[in-house]
């Protein structure tokens, strides 16, 4: 198995008033292609920080991050922006979609930013919408979709650019149990089907049944999940 995402000895300290907070404390991590990894942990433990660093949104204070074979350390802003577009897909908890675009256009936005929309992109967008069960909602805007439908469109959008790594922050916090389960099952299925490495942060222990591996974040330290937690 080859790793799609590798973090080596990553530390992130953030200024908080006069002191500094260690959001990530010597974190090392490898995520294989097609793997769905869940990260759980209490609030403030550094889960979002991990996604930010792995997703080229923020440089780590020290350590190295490699996404799809590309080293992020020392890359310029323009290159980081290109790497985000080419190699990384995000599904955010809120503001996942653009309010003015229909579900289909959310997906078409991705090739439009990169190169321009061609016929094959339209076909691919329709295919992806079908794969997340949203074909019948393709012409609706986010305001006319339910929370779960929005998350599914968000997942399809994140997959539109064929990312090596899919980063997902609390995809289920706005959903009821059945919907949450559906969304995570979809993530697992898509990760396995497309070979995309998927890192999902969650509070929701119920959805962990679909994941390949679970790690726990605590005070910026990434470690194995104590067996007791899963019950």
């Amino acid at each position: 198995m080859t790793a799609a995402l590798t973090l080596t000895d990553v530390t992130l300290t953030l200024p908080a008033g006069d002191e500094t907070v260690t959001a990530l404390d010597h974190v090392s991590l490898e995520v294989a292609k097609g793997e769905l990894l869940a990260i759980v942990g209490p609030s403030g433990s550094g889960k979002s920080s991990l996604l930010a660093v792995a997703g080229a949104l923020m440089p780590p204070t020290s350590g190295s991050v490699v996404v799809g074979g590309q080293e992020l350390t020392g890359a310029s802003r323009t290159r980081l922006s290109r790497i985000r577009g080419d190699l990384i897909g995000f599904v955010f908890q809120s503001t996942n979609l653009l309010p003015s675009l229909t579900a289909r256009d959310q997906l078409l936005m991705v090739p439009h930013m990169a190169s321009g929309i061609r016929a094959e992109h339209r076909a691919k967008a329709d295919e992806l919408l079908a794969s997340v069960g949203m074909s019948h909602r393709a012409d609706r805007r986010p305001a006319q979709l339910s929370g779960g439908e929005r998350q599914r469109v968000g997942i399809a959008r994140a997959l539109m650019g064929d990312p090596q790594v899919l980063l997902v922050d609390e995809p289920t916090s706005a959903l009821d149990h059945a919907r949450a389960d559906e969304v995570v099952a979809l993530l697992a299925e898509r990760a396995h089907a497309t070979g995309t490495a998927c890192v999902m942060v969650t509070h929701d222990l119920e959805v962990l049944t679909h994941t390949d591996r679970v790690l726990r974040m605590h005070d910026g330290v990434l470690g194995a999940l104590p067996a007791a937690v899963l019950g």
């Binding site: 609030s43 979002s48 920080s49 996604l51 930010a52 997703g55 949104l57 923020m58 323009t78 922006s81 290109r82 790497i83 985000r84 577009g85 080419d86 990384i88 995000f90 955010f92 908890q93 809120s94 503001t95 996942n96 653009l98 309010p99 003015s100 675009l101 256009d105 078409l108 936005m109 991705v110 439009h112 930013m113 990169a114 929309i117 805007r141 650019g161 922050d169 609390e170």
Partner: protein, 367 residues
Amino acid sequence: MFLALRELRFARGRFLLMGSVVALMAALSVILSGLSSGLVDHGVSGLRDMRADSFAFDESVTSDQFSRSTVDVAAVAAWKDAKGVTDAAPVGSALVHAESDAGVQFSAALFGITEGSFLEPDLVDGDSVGARENGVVISDGIAADGIGIGDVITIDRIGTELTVVGTTGSASYGHVAIVYLPLATWQEVAYGIPGEVPSSAYEIATAIALQHDGELADTEVAGTAAISKQESFNASPGYEAETSTMLLIQVFLYVISALVVGAFFTVWTVQRQPEIALLKAMGASSGYVVRDALAQVLVVLLGATALGGAAGWALGAAMPEGMPFVLETIPVLTGFALIIVLGAAGALVAIRQITRVDPLTALGGAR
């Protein structure tokens, strides 16, 4: 444009409101431009159309020269000898009230000219000034009052009787139509007392009109000082006050429209910040988002200016005859260009915020 156009459609209420403001500004700019060209026309077209390059006034008079200056006709000869001057002719001006034999009362600007000089107006109909004793040429404004060739005009108080022998175009001066009359007749009117006129009255004029090649070498000759025709506009009644007021109003309009557009897009950009962060997290460069936003600004500005401008033009074209209103393509288009360019500049200041949006904020409130 992909996102820009869809946002326009999505937030059409807001953009329509904003576009209406720009459209009204564009319409207003057409009206103001027409009014200011019209005022210039009503104020000085009689001067502008004269085939003179400069006017020499009594050197001791420095304002309102057309009503206050008096020069000696002998200065014509001195000016003809001056370097660069190709021709010179005396001109007398006065604003009077008059009445036609049919009982029509009107105000008029008198321009006394010597027959055969370069100051003769272009005739639309009839004969030239002085074709018969006290024969005068009138401009459109008086003809519009129903006065025509062969009619007799009596100047109030002085009682001088003038016979219309010809008509010229739409020239006016000081917002009234013009009567071109023989200089000698003007001199009698200017003397102001009916009856026997002393011979000294026949030696005066208001100014010496000059034609010359290039710049005048010497602007002061025989107690008179020459100013260019353009400068002489300021010497006509009310011209400076009118044009500077109109200019001030127009400057305000353009500044306000730039500020309105800037303010709208500032609010709009602030509202869009989460979406901009999302776009950037998805890999969009700042340049991509800025270009898209700018395209949106231009679509709004161009569309609104075109619509508002067309409406303003239609309104202007429907202005009643006699209003000081003239639609000239270049000033009107300049107005549109200013609304668009200044508006875009105002919006650009707002759009610049896009480059400062951190994609990290897309991770949401928890982050």
